[in-house]
Symmetry: C2
């Protein structure tokens, strides 16, 4: 595990400056300055940048470069950030804190928070569409982004999750479906977009897509475990919130030990999918790190 | 005017079936069925389809075909519909009625209405990205859509409009800025996307962009005039709402006669921009029709 953490740190030191240099650039000069400020507030809240970094590493894993995958990485972070802003709204998960700071609508109001999410989602496609990339790869990446973020992916998962809070009986299959859409679809897209922009052959692309699905599952189980065991200060948001509202989670369905077992199985599956890739060290380290992250 | 109305009717009879056959197709098979239903509810509310029809006519005006511009037309209607759903939310314009029916959030709840808008915005880019079109034209259309819909366009205009309700002094320049972004940017994009997908040369593309800007202005002035003079039954939504909340409009700044004069000037400007196009009859009829529509 020490080796995995070191590898992750080395990758972050190398890749985060690339991202940070570009991240807020599309949200500077323009007339709607308060809206741009709301967008930058959430972009600059300092998340873990998991999706963009995995996208860049996927491009490298198939022999491409981080810089050719950069527009895809930015697009993924914009989509992820928009989803956090909208999910935090009173009509959705109704959260006041995110990454230890007041949520977007607490600072800018609900109207601007909705529009900040809309603007980020739009710019995600804009930054990819106007990038200087091979037009075929660019179109494929755009289609993958729409698939991962849309109603058959992330947005659909969030809708099912909202509905689920009212559902009485709820089994593991339904929980898996929700997570496959809500968290898994965009993580899968992160890897596959990186693969496409890095010039992957079809089997590598499929392997990275499957890797993304497996770590998406691992990520969600770990999130549930953390929520069940951590304190507010650990998480930078309200802990125990899921249990408090009677929400079904992996620990509530499988017990804490059962959830930990499911987590380690998902991580093993993820690692298997990397076997055929030329440069797999960084992604393997990330899979191990994500599953065990203490936050 | 009779001739313009006949031409518009003939174009609608020809083009609406193309649109209607495809409009809800991406929102059928999938897991999040309640979300898809919410999306279809608003798509099937039967708007005037102004943006997609103008997009198709722009393609024809430069010698292209409606079918090659169809993915762009669908994308524009998805973006327009998402913007209506989000604008109607309590945190924004707080409307209960739209096109004579309860607004999306009144039927499906705020959470699903936010997600239905998000899903439509995402699919707008998805339908264009996965269309079987020349990759260069497709990428240009995607970039134009993002520019028209995003924070430097429509979303930014809506933010300024929200802020404007709290601004005490407010002049014609500021009103024009808001409308240029909120309504004008997407109408401009509708024409320019049609031009690009129809294979326009650069000067034709610019002419259609300018035409779009002028009819966008005309459209907004007419909207304000209708709000000030019509009844609920005429509009299918609450009339006199703008005046009721002390919102600044063209009639409130210029008087009703002044607003009508500004409307006819904008329409004249629009018609001038069509002079160089090979097939301009339909677009000219639309400009005249939009400015004088009685709804």
């Amino acid at each position: 595990m020490k080796a995995a953490a070191d590898q992750v740190k080395a990758d972050l030191d190398r890749l985060l400056p690339l991202l940070d240099a570009e991240l807020t650039k599309p949200f500077r000069a323009g007339e709607a300055q308060r809206l741009a400020e709301a967008v930058r507030y959430s972009l600059e809240a300092g998340g873990k940048r998991v999706r963009p970094v995995l996208c860049l590493l996927a491009a490298e894993a198939v022999g491409g470069t981080a810089s050719e995958a950069l527009p895809g990485a930015l697009a993924l972070e914009y989509v992820h950030t928009y989803s956090l802003i909208h999910d935090d709204l009173p009509a959705m998960d109704d959260d006041d804190l995110r990454r230890g700071r007041p949520t977007n609508h607490k600072v800018y109001g609900e109207g601007h928070a909705i529009l900040a999410g809309d603007a980020l989602l739009t710019e995600a496609f804009g930054v990819l569409a106007s990038a200087d990339l091979d037009p075929i790869r660019r179109a494929e990446a755009l289609a993958l982004l729409a698939e991962g973020a849309g109603w058959r992916g992330m947005a659909g998962g969030q809708a099912l999750d909202l509905e689920g809070e009212k559902v009485e009986s709820y089994d593991l299959d339904h929980l898996r479906l929700i997570h496959r859409l809500k968290t898994g679809a965009l993580l899968r897209a992160s890897l596959e977009i990186g693969a496409v922009l890095g010039g992957a052959a079809a089997p590598q692309r499929m392997a990275l897509r499957d890797f993304g699905a497996a770590i998406g599952l691992a990520f969600q189980i770990q999130d549930d475990i953390l929520d069940a065991t951590a304190t507010d200060a650990d998480l930078g948001k309200r802990a125990g919130k899921d249990a408090g509202r009677g929400k079904i989670t992996y620990p509530s369905l499988l017990g804490l030990d059962g959830a930990r077992k499911a987590l380690s199985e998902a991580t093993e599956t993820a690692l298997c999918h990397l076997a055929s890739l030329p440069n797999r060290i960084s992604l393997a380290a990330w899979a191990q790190y994500l599953a065990l992250r203490a936050r």
